[in-house]
């Protein structure tokens, strides 16, 4: 989806539609929560719509030990509560602080935007994109939306900051933002680079097979050497005393 912050008027129709679609309590909320999968954050006169970014290389999917979070081919990052063990690594790791946890429940799940996966399957638009009265949220094919974003930047270079947020941030996301105000001033974390965060973990995890194989051989070798040394020392001590004959001379 392409979210053009310069068009958004803050009418909150997206949140209302989202709440209706997902059967959540209909009150207006200013922040993401268990009952708000999208919310508008106001920065002076700019409204920034928060929701799950449905990253291309999702951090939450990579950290989940049981694979309860899955990136689907058509975009959505889906969650399976039946698999979830409740380790909350996704909450800790998500660079956008999206997943919310049912802390008050004794069988807690996480809650977050599902990208209206059931609607997409039926060929419908996500509820929020359909509800937006001014077209600030556009739904479409990722490449086509990127072209559209680039076209807008090219057509009005003075209006926009020259950046499509989400094009390649943390490896690219399914949500793109255009803005007239630098993104750093709108609560977008400037410390997140372009490298997908799971790569940071893989640099360590990829060494696991090496540690196992090389480590196994080295430890085995050390055992063999030190064992041999003890044997030789014992044998020499015995030989000195002249008590034991050489083993090969034994009958």
């Amino acid at each position: 989806m392409l979210i053009d912050l310069t068009l958004c008027m803050g009418c909150n129709a997206c949140q209302a539609a989202c709440k209706e679609e997902n059967h959540l309590s209909p009150n207006e909320e200013k922040n993401l929560s268990l009952t708000a999968y999208t919310a508008l954050n106001k920065y002076s006169d700019v409204y920034v719509r928060r929701l799950c970014q449905h990253c291309d290389v999702p951090t939450c999917v990579s950290v989940c030990p049981v694979g309860a979070l899955v990136k689907q081919g058509d975009g959505p990052v889906a969650y399976d509560a039946d698999k979830c063990i409740g380790c909350r690594y996704c909450l800790q790791a998500c660079p956008y602080h999206v997943p919310k946890y049912e802390w008050s429940s004794t069988k807690p799940r996480i809650q977050k935007c599902r990208f209206c996966a059931p609607r997409l399957a039926k060929g419908q638009l996500p509820a929020c994109a359909e509800a937006c009265p001014v077209g600030a949220t556009l739904f479409g094919d990722r490449d086509e939306l990127l072209l559209e974003a680039a076209r807008r930047l090219g057509a009005e270079p003075t209006k926009y900051v020259p950046r499509i947020y989400g094009k390649d941030d943390v490896g690219g996301t399914s949500m793109f933002y255009l803005s007239s105000v630098p993104f750093e001033q709108l609560g977008f974390d400037s410390r997140l680079g372009r490298v997908p965060l799971p790569m940071l973990t893989m640099s360590a995890l990829s060494k696991v097979p090496n540690v196992l194989s090389v480590g196994g051989v080295v430890l085995g070798g050390i055992w063999w050497i030190t064992n041999r040394r003890t044997e030789v020392a014992a044998f020499e001590a015995a030989e000195k005393k002249g008590e034991t004959p050489r083993p090969e001379e034994k009958p």
Binding site: T59, V61, S62, V63, C64, P65, V66, G67, A68, K83, C84, I85, G86, C87, R88, Y89, L91, Q92, A93, P95, H97, P99, K100, Y101, E102, W103, S104, S105, T106, K107, P108, D189, R191, L192, L197, P198, L200, T201, M202, S203, A204, L205, V208, V211, L212, G215, G216, L219, G220, I222, W223, T226, N227, R229, T230, A234
Partner: protein
């Protein structure tokens, strides 16, 4: 007079019983009312005291693999007397950590899921597997001690036959998950403070666990050697202390070098909440004990070793808690202080650990191992030690732990 009738209840027993009871009640509350009502964890701070405790428990249990490797793979047989205490410490440590993890999980009833649902990209998945496998290894390493007691000898031979590969696997698994606890935080470069976040986290976690594991077993050998009987000779204790000092020095160099390379040293030029936490951890746990252990007089004195190992352990605890809590308070600016229930569960489980240890030591042959080892080992083990070592059952022997 009346007290005499009861089984000897020392002050420590009373305290640990109280803590275990309080912890049990706290755990019941946690399972009845859920995490939200009983902990101070939030969406912004989803991991807290219990994760820090897991790091701590696993780190202190590191003696299980270092001592086993030293004695049985590197053939440093003179340390044989502390192999069983080390395995026991590790075994109890791991079981407690698994217990805390299950309490910490939002869905404890799903704790077995990592067994059948894999995600090879997840550090957490690797850790769960290593924990399960290594706890199994430890139970096999520990089994002969129970079997000896109940005089069922045939499985001992069987375990003995696979003991070498078993030990190697144990050491490798330990290496992996000790470092992986650091890898857990590799994915939060935007959340963890620059003084703790580094690509070298797994390396640093591994190096420091060697120091803490050995410090723990050294402390245990000091505590358990009271009453004129020595579990390890002064000479061997000094050697272990030397190894700790070397490890601390290596850690210090890697840590500072890493700060320098990442340009994070400037964080230390001003006194902030974070730099003070960092200085505390590094001075208490690494610099001061290193300086202490450089001196031969301290390495050979009980009091010197007590203070040095306690400092190493305190600094280690600081380091893990700083990584798990303090360093994460920077973003999103959020403070976290554990709730009473979180604290009571942690204290209760700690008390449970010490209680189990003291009972096992009382009823199972933990210190008699050398007696049954071959004469050659005995002879070797005896060199550099004036007296053989059997520890008498010292009532309340664990009280100062």
């Amino acid at each position: 007079m009346k007290l005499r009738l009861l089984p000897r209840i020392t002050g420590w027993q009373a305290i640990s019983t109280t803590l275990i009871l309080a912890g049990t009640l706290a755990a019941i509350a946690r399972f009845t009312y859920g995490l939200g009502a009983t902990t101070n964890l939030t969406d912004e701070f989803p991991w807290g005291l219990w994760i820090g405790f897991d790091f701590l428990g696993i780190g202190l249990a590191a003696s299980g693999f270092t001592i086993v490797a030293a004695v049985n793979i590197f053939h440093a047989k003179e340390y044989e007397p502390i192999v069983r205490p080390a395995i026991l410490t590790a075994f109890i440590g791991y079981l407690l950590v698994v217990l805390v993890l299950i309490i910490d999980l939002g869905r404890p009833d799903h704790f077995w899921h990592p067994l059948v649902m894999w995600n090879p990209h997840s550090v957490m998945c690797e850790i769960s597997w290593c924990l399960m496998l290594y706890t199994s290894v430890l139970s096999l390493e520990f089994a002969p001690i129970i079997l000896e007691k109940v005089k069922i000898t045939w499985p001992i031979k069987w375990i003995h036959a696979i003991s070498l590969p078993l030990m190697i696997v144990g050491v490798l698994l330990s290496t992996l998950h000790q470092s992986s606890f650091g890898s857990l935080y590799l994915i939060v470069p935007n959340r963890l403070h620059a003084l703790w976040y580094t690509p070298l986290l797994p390396v640093l976690f591994f190096i420091s666990c060697i120091a803490s594991g050995i410090a723990m077993i050294l402390l245990e050998s000091l505590i358990l050697s009271r009453g004129g009987r020595e579990l390890l000779s002064t000479h061997l204790r000094a050697n272990l202390a030397k190894i700790i000092a070397i490890t601390l020095a290596v850690y210090f160099v890697v840590r500072v070098e890493d700060l320098l390379a990442r340009g994070a040293l400037h964080e230390l030029t001003t006194l902030t909440y974070y730099s003070v936490a960092f200085y505390t951890e590094l001075l208490v746990g690494f610099v001061v004990p290193f300086a202490l252990l450089l001196s031969d007089r301290i390495r050979t004195s009980r009091l010197g070793l007590y203070s040095a190992t306690l400092m190493v352990l305190a600094g280690f605890a600081f380091n893990r808690m700083n990584t798990a809590i303090t360093g994460l308070e920077v973003y999103p600016t959020q403070t976290y202080f554990p709730s009473l229930i979180e604290i009571f569960i942690m204290l209760g489980i700690t008390a449970l650990g010490f209680t189990v240890f003291s009972y096992v030591v009382k009823y199972l042959p933990i210190f008699e191992a050398v007696e049954e080892a071959g004469p050659q080992v005995q002879q070797e083990a005896a060199t550099g030690r004036p007296e053989p070592i059997y520890l008498t059952r010292d009532d309340g022997g664990m009280e100062s732990s």
